[in-house]
Every structure is written in structure tokens, then in C-alpha cells.
Symmetry: C2
Subunit: 606 residues, 2 copies
Amino acid sequence: MPQYKAPLRDVKFLMNEVFDYEGHYKQLSNGGEATPDMVDAILEGCATFCEEILSPINHSGDLEGCTFNDGVVTTPKGFKEAYAEYVAGGWQGLSHPTEYGGQGLPMSLNMMKSEMMGTANWSFTMYPGLSLGCMNTIMQYGDEKQKNTYLPKLVSGEWTGTMCLTEPQCGTDLGQIKTKADPAGDGTYKLNGTKIFISAGEHDMSENIIHIVLARLPDAPKGTRGISLFIVPKFLVNADTSVGTRNTVKAGSIEHKMGIRASATCVMNFDDAVGYLIGEPNKGLEAMFTFMNTARIGTAVQGIAHAELSYQGALPYAYERRSMRALSGKKDAEFTADALIHHGDVRRMLLTQKAVAEGGRSMIYHAAKLADNMVNGILENNQAKYEDYDNRLGFYTPILKGFLTEMGLEAANLGMQVFGGHGYIKEHGMEQIARDARISTLYEGTTGIQALDLLGRKTLLQTRGKCVFEFTSEMIDEVKGHLLDGGPMGTMARALFKRALQWKWSTLRIMLRANKDRDVVSTSCYDFMMYAGFVMMGHFWFKQAKVASQKLASGGKETKEFYTSKIQTAEFYFDRLLPRADGHYKGMMATSQSIMQINKDHFVMN
Amino acid sequence: MPQYKAPLRDVKFLMNEVFDYEGHYKQLSNGGEATPDMVDAILEGCATFCEEILSPINHSGDLEGCTFNDGVVTTPKGFKEAYAEYVAGGWQGLSHPTEYGGQGLPMSLNMMKSEMMGTANWSFTMYPGLSLGCMNTIMQYGDEKQKNTYLPKLVSGEWTGTMCLTEPQCGTDLGQIKTKADPAGDGTYKLNGTKIFISAGEHDMSENIIHIVLARLPDAPKGTRGISLFIVPKFLVNADTSVGTRNTVKAGSIEHKMGIRASATCVMNFDDAVGYLIGEPNKGLEAMFTFMNTARIGTAVQGIAHAELSYQGALPYAYERRSMRALSGKKDAEFTADALIHHGDVRRMLLTQKAVAEGGRSMIYHAAKLADNMVNGILENNQAKYEDYDNRLGFYTPILKGFLTEMGLEAANLGMQVFGGHGYIKEHGMEQIARDARISTLYEGTTGIQALDLLGRKTLLQTRGKCVFEFTSEMIDEVKGHLLDGGPMGTMARALFKRALQWKWSTLRIMLRANKDRDVVSTSCYDFMMYAGFVMMGHFWFKQAKVASQKLASGGKETKEFYTSKIQTAEFYFDRLLPRADGHYKGMMATSQSIMQINKDHFVMN
């Protein structure tokens, strides 16, 4: 069973050595409190909480799952107690304003916290994770009364929140939603409809649950321009913010899912439920976009979480389990067979997991800095700053969400593979990771939706390629001083230089082709996104290797092995994973013909 | 819920139009009965059995799973009855000798049967599937008395069989097995030990279970050269072949697995269990190799089975579910949104599933002809013929098992992906397919073991590259008349021609490198096998497209759409999937350094 150990050395390498988080926090309007000592204390406290409280109930939570009985959802043994400790530790309000009881720290620290918590126990982390969307919505669009009514207890974690978007007939295409909100005459609304796939929609861990619900006013225009946002609390809140009458929003059932079984996924029925309009009428879907990027990056974290946990499970097994002899001769002569770690193909699998987990983490840590600045734009009421950073983040978002969750799923499956047949057995805990990981490419926008967002929206419509051209320029700046280097740094620099030119040029080609054939956007987008992911991860592996080789060059023996391992993992990435960009390159450069020409009725003929 | 429909049109296309099975059966010593009418009747009868009996209990079998109670295993509702129908229909003995009550038909028909049965319900198909290994072993190595004692009821299906190989400490590396067999003094043996992962080890569907057990005699040499084979029946068999005393082989528990939950995977405890030596002492592992290729190809079938079923589940959903508008403009103007089938990225996923299922099926059907000839070598006591065909088959085996199961898992996951979030919910049946598929890359030799077998054993050790050179010559023969063709046939022919040269040349390079650095075999083998798979599937897609375009050219309108769809699927394969060979090409051509250099203790450092 994988026992989670927070990768603090790697976290500190990225924060202190690669991304200068100390300098970054100093220039943030809400970064003053995030001193290195404070950051260390938070990360170490969080690590302890994850290792000692969340990790031990990850596997048991999967086996037990949530149970549903007449509208009541019971979470697995230990979850309620763990959540109480989470609240007592003040973890929920880490990045939320002090005026509502939070600690007002930068959002990036919350992402780091989420990664640790999610790796230890993704199902658990869903509950407080869903509250974030609710809190952000109220903070951004609520009036003073709404903020004062809901935020203090959401920030403390005494209450949790949800986002009620999906309905049976639509998930991606929210323009189709039907839930209605009729004015009750007293300023409140009566909501009627059914929402599905509502994570944390009902559970036994908090006193109240505050739902943010997308619904239509009676006179609303059709489609996406007629959707408004409502606050619908499970229990109505009294004037003194104590919990009052039970509202008529009820869980009708919970879903039986492949994984994340300890996370309650609810069907929520609204029967004349009391709701409060939040934000402007009919602007609900636009409001959803404010924190879309950070929410999606929150899901991108799941890719590295499952890669990391599966790696932490597979590595000890590769040390212990013995099978056959290494091809280059006996390694453990005193035993009848060599440990798996000596076999090249097992190393390939482990290094793939390591490269995905650490490479993905560095991508997230970079994006988290942009998110901090975006939030500063909001805090400073500086719309231009908000938009600038939100746009920059918007380029990374679909790549991180789309690519990292696909790679995380692959890495989770490789961890099972290291175990051989034992990986398929529940008691080892490896197959749970693959099942939990499987949701990550589906929710918060499927891989296909991320791909369309990247190529269609971000690259073609919004920036006419500029987002790619800027990133490839950054890539070239990063490597240009190393093109003539010997050794791995030179090899990697030249590889990235070529990829930067290739990506830029191919984006231009696809843009030109899409002008004539709009189907190209949907037939090329998946390969374009995966290509982007492989190249971008290469860029961030290069950054890490560069810092590591500088550290090695400047002496300092104590962690020589750490830096060597970083460079060697980067070499592995460039040798074995980055080449997969070639297949995606050819895919994205193909015309739409081989996908679109087949008559829709000729897919199967009997 | 996917309702299985046997792809009979595709089956007949392959049998009659691509592979000339009629001619093939005519030249087999056991092919006389396999007339076209007989073959059609078998395929259609099997299709009905699969569609009406096996498919309806596939999902319920997963939900219910097997239950274990004090040594007794109960299969899910309907399994026992379905098995009784299977026996009554005479399906088990299809390819087994008439002298033991079978129908004596070629083995290929059994593979086609297994594909249909396995697609409809893989868990069910495991039970009779395991009997095959047992029957083949007794047929090949048993003495007359053993044959007469066990074969008639195994061939009829009244009894089932197992293969007891794996032990807790070893699966791949059978040299480590510890189960002991001590002579009892009366010509029988007392077996003691524990076997794990024994599929169909215990269940309630048959009167008796005949275990083939690998164990060590007291004086056996260490390692693989000291393993003997034993027959250990659940109930000892009386002289009149009626069932006698209960033997002391008992199921200790069943495994809780990620998938194939209706297949009982047992821990089998042997406590002085009565066993009968079969074959020569200490030659047990060699005997296992006789049917290794066909057993592994039986598992390769699982790749196409899950790709096919997931495709059959995803396609109707893509017709029904509506989301957004197609990028090239409204397609279903009368609805608020277009069906998924109009979206390029959804088509990409569906076509990938189709290309894997149909491309993989053609690879299996080709290999099945070799298997028929191999079996003829055995039936005719023609060792040279047996070896010739077994060697030929041996080249395909690891590619089919390794590549097709990896692609089948990917295809099963794509079917979930088409469903979006709904794919993750058990009731739709799509996630079951992905869970069931997950075992296929683990058992019967993991993907890594297949890869080592292909590159290390088959390519380097046994043939010094000849197996690849012969196959690439076949590829060139296939395409050489089409290199100057216009249209898709010319494009595909030229692509394959280049791949044939590239594969041949790169195999030479890897051989030279492996002479100096034996680790290269284990660091390159996975990419080599995947590369081989992509190229080989291209070859078989070309074959299908060639036949289809000949049929189109020769007129005959009634199935024009079928042939057009074949050619278009081949085009898709060449445009979007074959390019993935490029990434694997670079991986296999890399030195071992980036995988082997990292110190085994430096994978994680905290």
C-alpha cells in the first residue's frame, strides 16, 4: 500500500532554486506574510497532516465508499474526523482574506497544499476543493450581506460549498441547462430542477452546504446568455449566521463510480428550493470564467498527484521484488534473482512516472505564480492586471489540465504495471490510483475540451497565435546560451531550440489551414495539445536541469545526488518521452480528411 | 450499456476476402469438415450464443462478482446456466479431437469463437479458456490412461481445467517456484504448496476441476530445470471416470480485483493433494512452451475484444448525445445542439477504436492460420512442421500480445472518454470495459516480458534478426506494386515501404549495439515492440484496404459502403496512428544510458 511521503525536497528545489518564490512573494500585495520561514512551516505542517491523517484513510475510503440512505450521505470511516482536524488546523482559509478569518496568503500556497493533500487522498481533497469555487464566486460577485453571511464559515471550513452546473442532458454545453429560478416576490427565488455529478453535494462532514447553482430566470434568453447564478444553502441561514430551516434542495442519490469512491457525487434535486441571486442576471456563465483557469489548474494537479503516489507505491516494490537476472549480469548475487530496479524496462516505467510527477510539478509551480498575480489584480481592483495575468495563465491552463491528466493516468497505470499481476489486486492499492486518476481527463472539461480551448480559443481566436509565439520565444531565450554546450545541457538545449521553431512554424501552418477548413481545429486539437504538453514539459525539465547543473558546478557536496538525479531524469525525458511529440506533430499537421470524410452512418456495417 | 453485436460482416470479410480461409482449410489435415457452410453455421450460432446468453450477464456479473465462503466459490447469477448452455451446445470441443468427443475443427475457429465470447463477456470466457491449457497439456504429454480419464469430460465441458503456475514469490520467474511433489510410493505424488492467481481455480459451474500444477520433485535441480508437471483433480476420478473422493486441493480465498470480477481468481492450497506426474520429470517448464504462443495469442484477443465492445458502446452514444455545434456549421439544425458524431475529436476517438479493433482482428486472423498449421504439425507427428510454424507464430506472438493489449486498453479508455463524465459511472458499463481490459497487459506475460521476448529472444538470440527481415520483405512484397499508385493506396504503400526499410535497418543497429551493451535489450525492448506493433498493424490495414479497393473497382454495389469505410479507416490509421511509431523509433534507437545511469538509490531523495 503506498504510504504518502510529501516530496518536500523537490518542493523546496522548485520554490527556492528554480522559481525564486521568495522574490515573487515580496512583490505581491498579499505576499508579505509569506516569508520563507512561514512557507516552510506551512509546507511542513501540511506534509504532516497529509502523511499522518489523510494517507492512512485513502485506501480504506476507497473500499468503503460513501453510502446513501434517504437523502443522507455518510462518508467513509475517519473522513469526518479528518475533516474536523483540517478545519481545526485552519487549512481551508490559507489563501482567503483575513477579514473573513482566512490567512490571506497567496493562492500558490493553496495549490501546493492541494497537491500534497490530493496525492495523499484525492477523494478527501474533493470536499474542501469544491468549497473553493463557491467561496471565490461569493467573494467576487456577492454583495456585502452575502459575503458576511456565508464567507466566514466557508473560510473556516465549518461549512462547505459546491458548484451545481451539470444537468442530465448537458455537461460541456451549459447553454442547454433547464433548471428554473422563479422570483418568490420577496427578493428570493424558487429553484426547480435536477443537477447531476455534484461533488460534495451532500455529506456528513460540515454543518451546512452552500450550493452555487446555475439556473434560468423566467424571462431569460435561450442558450448561454440566459444563465444566472444563485446561492442555495442546504440550511437557510439566520440573521446571526446560525443554521436555520432545512431548504428543499436534497440529494436524490449518489453515483456508483469507477474511482474517487470516497468522494460523494450527488444527484441534487431542487424542489422550490430557496435561492438568492448572486451577481447580475443572465451573466452567470461569464462569472464562471473568472476562476476557470485556477479551477482547471486545480484539476491539472491531479495528474501529478496520481503520478507521484503511484511512483511512491511502485518504487519500494521495485526494490523488494526479485525476478530474473539483469541482462548485464547478476546484481544481487546473494539472492536467487535480482530486484526489479535492475531491469531496464522497469526503470523506464519508474523514470516515466518520476519525469511526469516532477516535470508536471514544475509546470504547476510556474503557473501558480501567474495565478498569484492574477489574484493580485483582483485584490487591487486592477482589471488590466487581472486580465493580463489571466490571459497568460489561460495559455497554460488547457495544456496543464489536458496533458498532465493524460500523463498522470498513464503514470498511474505504469505503477500498476511495475507490480505485474499484483497491481490488479485491490489490497496493494495500486489499482485504486489508476481508477482515481481516470476521472481527471473527464471532469472540469474533458481532454477534448481542453484541446479545443487551446487551439481554437486561446491560439486561433483570441491571440492569432501570439500565445504560442511568446512561449516559443521564452523557450529560445532559455536555451540560447547553451546551444554550443557539450554534454546533456547542450543536447537538450538544441532539442528544445528545434522544437520551439517547429511549434511556431506548425502553429502558423495550422492557422492558415483552419482559415479554409474549420474542421481542422477539431481534428488537430488533441494532437496539438499533446504536442504542446510534451514540448512545454521539456522546457520546464530544461529549467530544472539548468539550475541543477549550476548547483553542481558551484560545489556544495551535501545534495550532489539530488542534482545529479534531476539532470539524469531530464536526460531520460528528452531521450524517451519528448520524442513522442513527433507522432503528435504528424497528427496535428494532417488535414481533416481522414477524420471527417467517413460518412457518419458507415462507422459500423453489419 | 453496450449490447454486443458480433461483427460478422468483418469476420467474413477477413475469412473470405482477405485471408482465403476456404483454401487454407482445404490444405489442413483437420480442415475437411470446415466447409464454408459449416463455418458460417458455427459463426452464426456462436454469435447468437454470445449476443443472447453471454452479453446480458456481462454487466451484472461485474456488479455482483464472485463470492467466496469457506472454500466454495459462487459465480454471479446466470453464469452457471450460461455455462450449461455452452456445454450443451458442444462449444468447448470445437477444435479438439473427435476421438474424445470434440468436433476436430481447426484451432482458428476456436480463436474466432473466443473473440466473440470474450467480447460479449470476458469474465465468463476465462472459465472455458483456462480449460484449453489443461486439455492441450494432457493431449500432448499425457499417457493413454490420463487422456482417457480426463479428456472426454474436459472436451465436453462437463469438467473444467486450470493452469497452476504462479506462486506468491514468483510469476514471471518460474524458476523460483517452491511447491513440492513427493512420491507417495504408489506411483502418485503428494503435492504441498500454495499457488496464487489461479483463474477458475474453484467455481460452481462444473462437476470437477482438473488442475495442471508446476511443482518440484524431491531431487529436482534448482531453478527452471527442476520443474515437473502434475495433474491434480479437485475430485479424484474413479475407474469408470465418475467423480470420486474430494482431493486436498482447496481454494483458500479469491482475489478482489480491479476488473474481470466475475472470473474467480483463486489462491489454491495443496495439502498433501494427490497428483499424477504428466510428461517427463523436470521438463515441466519446457512443456509449457508447446502452447505458449497460442495461449498468448488467446490473450492478445482481449485487446481487440475490449476495443470492439467499447466501440460498440461509444458509437450509439455519439449518435444520441448532443453537445455544442460542429465547427464547420450546424449539422442537426432541428436540435439545440449537434450529435457528438459530428465533432472531429470524437470521430478521432471512435476511429481509433475502430482501427484498433479491426486492425487487431486482421492480425489475429493471420496468426490463427499459422496456429492451424502448427497444430497440424502436432497432429501429423511432423516435428519439423510444428517447429517451423511455431517459430513463425512466435514472431507474431509478443507483438500481438504486447501491442494489441496496450492498444485495447487505450481504446477501452477512449470509449469512456466519448461518454465524458458519464463514462466514469458504473451504470453505463463503459468503465467496466476499461477495468476488464486492464488485466490484459499484466497476465500471460506482462507487456515488458513480451517486449523482452520479441527483441531479446525472438529477434536477437533465436534468429539474429531474420524474423524481422522476413517480415519486412513480406511488407515490401505487399506494397511494391502500389508505390506509384495515386490516391490513398499509393500514399499508404510508400509509407509502409519506408517503414519496412526503417525497421530492418534499425534492427541491425540495435543488434550491433546490444553486442556491446546488453542493457540495450531491456531499455529498447518496449519501444521496439510498440514500434513493431504500429508498423505491423499498418501492414494488415494495407492488406484490408487493398482487397477493399479491388472490390470497389470490380463494381458490385451492395456493400460499396463497407469497402469505402475500410479504406477510410485505413487512411485514418496511416494519418493518425502509424505516426506514433516515430516516437517509439527514437526511443528504441536511444542508448541505454538515460535509463541505466541513474543510481538505484537516487530515484527519490528527501
